[in-house]
């Protein structure tokens, strides 16, 4: 499979070089190289390997390392004695001659067992049929492309189809031209079938094989198609295709949910944009179209390829003669444009769009004004909540106060990184340096009081509250002394562990 991959890659590289450095024939060579796709067994290895399913690459029998060592002895098949070699393999005669121990090479044992184990169970028939189907589908693509290129009827039909497609996308512009030069008419249906078979088979391969590359190719093809032609599918088509591709690429359900949410947001945004985007006035559009057309007519007349067609009862038809491909000037009967009538201007949709637009602008202004104050509002709300929570310290129920005080102390310790984490609080002792003498004993005492308050129905006395207040004071003092200014800032504003007026209150208590 390695040689196949190399072959494959080298052909692709060759084709790309020809395209860049050669002329038009290079593009055909690129397409010819696609012929090689079905020659490589597509579904088993390499780019088309399915994501799930057993890996059936057979082991190649690895010969023992000794055989491939470059520094082995030349004479016959002996090598110097290595620890681990068997004593009965020693070639005594040669060793006596050479003066060092030499060991006979061992013939490589054919690993029959391994081979039979992995070359394995024959594939189930369903799997074999599926692979054959996939190879057939993949073979359809280059065949269809070849037909389109070489058969003149199909070629003509394809070009006509592309021209029609292009017209349809450019219909709102007055400036229409034929994308591809085509002589005469031809049957459209065979070309349409051939053209549809390419993405169709790619889609079928993507769905059947469970591999991700065809989905990628499909999406890349759609994007390149749009870019090359200069036309654009509507936004929702592109977003939908992108979503399908991502769904195919992502495997785990949480990712998919996230992607679906993202897509929903994108769709809503595109809808809003479509509604709110300052649309253009139709009459302004028509006027600019008129101007553009006049300019092109002037340019054509200067170039000498312009020819007025006789005017009928319809507004003047303008004929464009230049096609954008090979550069040959051919006279063409183009489609005309008609100016927008006054009635069409008065579509009420524009009024709604205006209203919504001004509302959106108002909201945006308000949001921008409020934005700088948001951090302060948020901090204030948190501070109030924290202060309210700490009201409990003074509550009549000593048990509640004791619990709250101890938990606040633990919050302090955790915030400074020397806290108990997920251990039971009474079974932990503060081990950091910097804590004053007697702090661990006080902590243990308070932890026991906390447990009593939290887990039993006993009522505690005032002295319990005083002990806890003492612990809190000492903790705050030690940790504030230890912490740098940055940590103090975080403690005050992010964790809301202390405020200025609270400190005053407590010291006056």
């Amino acid at each position: 499979m390695k040689t196949r991959r190399i072959l494959y890659l080298s052909f692709v590289l060759l084709a790309l070089c020809l395209w860049f450095f050669g002329n038009g024939t290079g593009s055909r060579a690129v397409l010819f190289s696609a012929l090689l796709l079905p020659l490589c067994p597509p579904v088993r290895h390499g780019l088309f390997a399915p994501d799930k399913g057993p890996a059936l690459s057979p082991h190649t029998v690895q010969a023992p390392e000794a055989l491939s060592r470059p520094e082995e002895e030349d004479s016959g098949d002996v090598h110097p004695f290595r620890p681990g070699d068997e004593a009965r393999q020693i070639h005594w005669k040669l060793s006596a001659k050479r003066g060092t121990l030499l060991v006979r090479e061992q013939a490589p044992v054919p690993c029959e067992a391994e081979e039979s184990r992995t070359v394995s169970a024959p594939l189930p028939r369903r799997e074999v049929r599926k692979r054959r189907l996939l190879s057939a589908l993949l073979a359809v693509i280059p065949l269809a492309v070849l037909c389109l290129l070489l058969l003149p009827a199909a070629n003509r039909g394809a070009r006509l189809l592309f021209n029609r497609l292009f017209e349809a996308s450019e219909a709102k512009n007055a400036y229409l031209y034929d994308r591809f030069p085509v002589e005469g008419e031809g049957p459209l249906l065979p070309a349409a079938l051939l053209l549809a078979s390419v993405p169709g088979s790619l889609l079928a391969v993507a769905v059947l094989s469970g591999s991700r590359l065809p989905a990628l190719l499909l999406y890349a093809g759609c994007v390149l198609f749009q870019v090359w032609f200069g036309l654009a599918f509507p936004a929702w088509v592109n977003i939908g295709l992108c979503g399908l591709l991502l769904l195919r690429l992502l495997r785990r359900p949480p990712d998919r949910r996230a992607v679906l949410a993202l897509l929903a947001v994108l769709l809503v945004l595109s809808l809003l944009t479509a509604l709110l985007w300052p649309g253009t006035d139709a009459s302004v559009e028509a006027a600019s179209e008129k101007a553009r057309d006049a300019l092109s007519r002037m340019a054509d007349s200067i170039a000498g390829a312009f020819r007025e067609s006789p005017a009928g009862d319809t507004p003047a038809r303008h004929v464009h003669t230049r096609s954008l491909t090979e550069g040959d000037a051919e006279s063409r009967e183009g489609k005309g444009y008609r100016p927008v009538t006054v009635e069409e201007e008065e579509i009420s949709l524009h009024r709604w769009a205006d209203l919504l637009r001004s509302l959106a602008l108002l909201l945006l202004t308000v949001a921008l004004i409020v934005l700088p104050f948001l951090p302060f509002l948020w901090f204030n709300a948190r501070r109030k909540k924290a202060l309210q929570a700490r009201e409990v310290f003074r509550s009549g129920q000593v048990g509640e106060a004791v619990c709250a005080l101890f938990l606040h102390t633990v919050r302090w310790l955790d915030a400074c990184g020397c806290g108990p984490g997920n251990a039971p609080y009474a079974a932990w002792t503060p081990k950091e340096e910097g804590f004053p003498e007697g702090y661990p004993a006080l902590y243990r005492q308070c932890a026991a009081l906390f447990e009593e308050a939290a887990y039993s129905g006993h009522s505690l006395g005032e002295d319990a509250r005083q002990t806890l207040l003492a612990l809190l004071a000492r903790t705050e003092e030690t940790l504030k002394r230890r912490a740098g200014w940055k940590q103090r800032f975080l403690l005050k504003y992010r964790e809301c562990l202390w405020t200025e007026d609270e400190k005053r209150d407590r010291s006056s208590h």
Binding site: N422, P424, A426, E451, S456
Partner: protein
Amino acid sequence: MRPELEKVINEIEKAVAGKRDVIEKILTALLAGGHILLDDVPGVGKTTLAVALSRAVGLVFRRVQFTPDVLPSDLVGFSMYDPAGNAFRYRPGALLHAHLVLGDEINRASSKTQSALLEAMEERQVTVDGTTYPLETPFLVIATQNSVGAAGTQMLPYAQMDRFLLRLSLGYPDYRAQMDLLRARQGADPLQEVECVLAREALLGMQQSVLRVTSRDAILDYITRLAMASRTAEGVEVGISPRGALFLDRAAKARAWMDGRDYVTGRDVQAVFTDVCAHRLVLKEGAPGTAEEVLSSLLGSVETPDRRLRNGGFLKK
């Protein structure tokens, strides 16, 4: 540790030195009213420990050596026809009239005998020929299982191991302990020096007190979360059953009471967790690690009730 229990432990330590934690756990099981499974190599002092305990607490001790031909009737008793009285008379079995029963090598007994023992353990009474005979109170069974030489035996299935409160292991003593052991046996048999320091009625009173120890919602929530986490832990096929959770609660209560408190805390649950739950886990085949490792990782990962309180849960009752 309550002083009366300290005395008991010190007495037992005269006979079995250096195994203080095992003695504490056995006392926990005794107070909680559960039974013990001793999984051990032979000759480490299981019988000595059981005898010492029975002497220290004034309980009647009986030892049953299980062999493959022990019948259930040997345990629960049977009715024998008495021609003189012209009626059937009940002859009590090994389980009757004993407080502390040491069942040696339960894995050598037949399945029928094993289930007879386990049923009696569960119900604390035996029924023979329609008549029910209650077992003594307090009733403690210490069953031993020998992992060595287990060929041809019926290792206790997991469903039956679930019925034991604790699984303990004595293990070999270290150098000092072995030296002390040999030195102690140079003179009189130390087992004779163990005296009764706790009356049986006092023990019954203690068991009642243990039942009255309170477990708040926060602790019950912790136990439930531990049990549920064990069922979905990786590498675990079968986790802690609801019976296991109940036993965990009881053992934690006993532990808390032994510590001198009448309320259970997270510390108590963590202290008894491994011993109560290690034999209830069934690990998946090929899963790395032992049950103890899985349990200790659970202890680290499941939120303790203290931390839950800190994060705002269970603040009111």
